[in-house]
Symmetry: C2
Subunit: 297 residues, 2 copies
């Protein structure tokens, strides 16, 4: 084969990303909502839909690690992203397979060569603020100082408004059943993936899992949107995923702000229609749309 | 002394609650919000307040148990309620003291005779849906079937409207800083305690800790209000606290509904102004106010 290749072919091979062994994943399906009968304020029965939360116990190399409560839209990406965001695995190449079986509520993860010191690394428990997945194993903050976000990354105010509008128009479980959090990954103002879950940490972990399986994303700035609060874990996870701009419909907590300032992340909160607060690193926003003009457009 | 007591005195003693040894608690104080400068959509700086989340590492008999992220309004009640709701202690009599020191972010719990099998009982980790305190130790569901809520307990619709209105008018960190959850305990429509925290599970645990320290509550039905979703843990905790009616501004998840149906808890969601959905046990509601009449009142 090599004899028939020309120089261009060889250069292609040399510049191509190193082939990564992708894990084998099931594609387990589950209903995201369920219809139930309630009684309304007039005492009459009504049919509404509620989120169909279910528990998923994660086993790593046959050892029980954790039970996640999830809506179940993309359980394999969720489990992968959870392991990545908890820094229990360093990349998808360490995972051989993730098999989800809703009949028994289990995700079986097989690693290629085990997780080093897993007992020790999962011993410390931190119960965090976030909705859902409030448990992070100790040491998450330890790696924060090593994170370098692209220093020049910027988002135009008009792109920010496009993002908020895209979320507003997106079909969602929230609209039919409520009580779920949404997260979305954008490149500039272009939506890449929209995920909902009962806990917003499940949603961001699912996006992390999906990102790890992708090839390179389109050229542009990565922007993360969440309906939930910008807590320290949410900011840390975004930074770990290399995302320099995070937008929330909700606010920020003091520790979230502290971490955002430390890692150079532009944290934008209370983003609705044409209004927002930028909590940190406003130099990442290009104010190209004053609200009055944007409102008239 | 006994010689001077008459029969009435003796009957008083016989019917009085058994004297419970109360734990010694510090009363650590912390600022609940902090003023920060943000940049708004016009590019101009503004001062706003954000919730001052902080971490509190709980040590039980010098052994590190968990780190809670909290607003810090009532850390001693929070730690006590956490231990009770996790079923790690059976009552306040088992606790000698809880000492919170914000300078080091630590709560030192001293028990009277240790916690039986604590290593084993905290080994299983369930990452749940709830905002905040998403980590419950395994086995929480195990006790659910033993819970018996008062079968006759009812709430009048007009009392429900009073409760929703009391919450609406209550001064709160949410109104100044946003991004927190509130919980409140009512007896009938009378507010007993209002607690906010960055996670709604911290808020309910704080109420549980406070309840455990009180003598008997006033006569009436216990009603629990939460701004957060009615997840399974929220319903379980309410039931453990003997509360037969729970009201939420938000919705319910499928597992929350399942547990509410199982324990006989009346779960009311989407409660705003004069509207609500009753998800389970509507027989606990006395429909004494049709919305049109109530709205005209």
């Amino acid at each position: 084969m090599l004899a028939r290749m020309n120089l261009a072919d060889l250069q292609d091979i040399a510049s191509a990303p190193v082939a990564v062994q992708r894990p084998r994943l099931t594609q387990a399906k589950a209903d995201l909502t369920r219809e139930v009968t309630v009684v309304d304020e007039s005492g009459r029965p009504r049919s509404i839909r509620i989120p169909a939360e279910r528990d998923l116990t994660v086993y790593v190399d046959k050892r029980e690690l954790v039970t996640l409560m999830t809506l179940g839209a993309h359980p394999e990406w969720l489990v992968l992203g959870y392991l990545l965001n908890q820094r229990l695995v360093g990349g998808v190449h360490e995972i051989e397979s993730i098999t989800v079986d809703w009949d028994v509520g289990a995700a079986a993860v097989v690693t290629r060569s085990g997780i080093d010191r897993i007992e020790e690394r999962t011993a410390r428990r931190v119960v965090t603020t976030g909705c859902g997945q409030g448990s992070v194993f100790g040491g998450l903050m330890d790696d924060v100082d090593r994170i370098v976000l692209p220093p020049q990354a910027q988002l135009r105010q008009s792109q920010l408004y496009d993002i908020v509008n895209t979320i507003r128009l997106h079909d969602s479980t929230y609209k039919t059943a409520g009580s779920v959090h949404a997260c979305a990954l954008f490149v500039d103002e272009r939506l890449q993936l929209f995920v909902e879950d009962v806990g917003r940490h499940n949603a961001v972990d699912t996006i992390a899992g999906w990102m790890a399986l992708q090839g390179p994303l389109p050229v542009g700035e990565k922007v993360f949107y969440t309906t939930g609060r910008l807590t320290s874990e949410m900011v840390i996870k975004s930074a770990q995923m290399g995302v320099p701009v995070v937008i929330s419909r909700s606010g920020i907590t003091e520790m979230g702000l502290h971490v955002a300032q430390r890692v150079g992340l532009c944290a934008i909160g209370r983003a609705t229609h044409k209004r927002f607060f930028c909590f940190s690193h406003p130099q990442r926003i290009v104010f190209d749309a004053v609200p009055a003009e944007a409102g008239a457009a």
